[in-house]
Symmetry: C2
Subunit: 325 residues, 2 copies
Amino acid sequence: MTTESMPFAEYVRARRALVDEHLERWLPAPPACPAVIGGAMRYSLLGGGKRFRPILTLAAAEEIAAHEWLRRPSDQGLTLDDAVRFAMPAACAIEMIHTYSLVHDDLPAMDNDSLRRGRPTSHVVHGEGMAILAGDGLLSEAFSLLARVPEGDGPAVLERRMRTIAVIAEAAGPVGMVGGQAIDLEAARPGQGVGPSTFDLESLRRMHSCKTGALIRASAVAGAIMAGALPRAVDAVSDYAVQLGLAFQIVDDILDVEGDTSELGKTAGKDAAAGKPTYPALVGLDRSRELAREAHDAAVAALAQVGIGTGRLHDIASWVVSRTN
Amino acid sequence: MTTESMPFAEYVRARRALVDEHLERWLPAPPACPAVIGGAMRYSLLGGGKRFRPILTLAAAEEIAAHEWLRRPSDQGLTLDDAVRFAMPAACAIEMIHTYSLVHDDLPAMDNDSLRRGRPTSHVVHGEGMAILAGDGLLSEAFSLLARVPEGDGPAVLERRMRTIAVIAEAAGPVGMVGGQAIDLEAARPGQGVGPSTFDLESLRRMHSCKTGALIRASAVAGAIMAGALPRAVDAVSDYAVQLGLAFQIVDDILDVEGDTSELGKTAGKDAAAGKPTYPALVGLDRSRELAREAHDAAVAALAQVGIGTGRLHDIASWVVSRTN
């Protein structure tokens, strides 16, 4: 697992494989889990995906482990392997939550999409009712995984796990992702008071800071917490991730305009067709690219504040603004 | 809050009011929570309901507090008020999870019901998409509430809270409630391999032990854990609650046949009309009543094993078999 000297693309592949292996291992299986729901959950969770959020969690934990002045005195002996091991349940729980949100967003009553991660969406394959339940199952299972305390966890690790659950649950819920999705849904319903025409850049930013930003922030913060980061280090990672999430969303909007359905693995051009507010629609493509670059730079500056120089979190910020899917 | 000498009906009213007050207080509010999702969550959560599960949580905590030989040595000074205070977040989280499950079960893609707790269902009022999100929000918020650690919680209370989260998350997820709902949904889909005709009493029992039994068991167990119960006391409360959940479900099936829509607050006769497997359909009304009584007696016997005589948990068992809504 010595990944320090790996090129970034190789690091991403290695971490993605490790996440996939743990997701597979930690998903509930028969006989305790009925085959019908277990199958629907696996279909969406193990059917590809960039694994951006869990890789961010692991990278944040590794950065904290690599800089001893960012850790609590009691965590001075932490190795990179320890950091990855401590952060892995959070990384996998966040991927479960992200996947549940995709399954529910794709439903006919929401975005009504039939393609995701290059395959038919859950409700197309399993029916609407089972897709709703698969999402519910993934969300519940995320917290079950986070709360299963390994034997021998001391009070310090227990306290970190509890803070991690709090951070992730808040980011997933009505003041985070679910709230952002509700604003988005309301904006798409004509005559309900918040049509796209009333969306300015500030409203758009607020919606996205809930809908995608909150969980991206929680991904990085959870990794930092589980690696024993000092409060100021958690704050810096949080500031970094807020900007990273903003850059991620702007690039998502740009790709919806410029991207290719087969490369994206989801339907391109959909937001524009639905008349949804997007960055390119509001400020144009050129200005959108500038805003993404500014957010990237602000993310990197937040890391510099606590002395985190080049490293995986920097690499991830570059990845986000240069990605094509 | 001196409730020890209250008649049971009065105790239930007092606890219900206390639960309602805390649900109201702990629900996220604007500006952090967008009004549109907050409103949909409140509509379902605060719109009536027996509060059976949270009252069970509080009663279990109070029973443990009332019997010092059932508690860990470190919890000898626990008062009834302490027990209620420690157990209240779990009680409210479980009611949020129960409510989310009703909102999702009522959706057109599931049971397609338009009446719940005497009012139009969430999707009728807020639309399908927002009803899905309101359920998602309630489920996330339940875990957010459980993980918000009050200042000054020591390691012992922290450990109990973590075990409580694990118990509740498992009961809510694919090996519990979501799994049972998936079996139920599959059974209602003709030609999918598990039609009602293939349901015998054992299959029915298994489905219900997941769909309703798991969360009822978790309600009681969470209360016992939060009051510092010894492992054998947790086990006894768990055995009690498994039988209680069984009795609850059999009575639910009987009320679906015999009950009145206006008193039930939900559509009566629905399961029979949908050709769903029920206890009366499989063994008749008389035998169903006998089975409910046997489960009641087994519940009470489990309490007797650890020296819990008359008290609120007994009262709750009597309530379950004699209820009319």
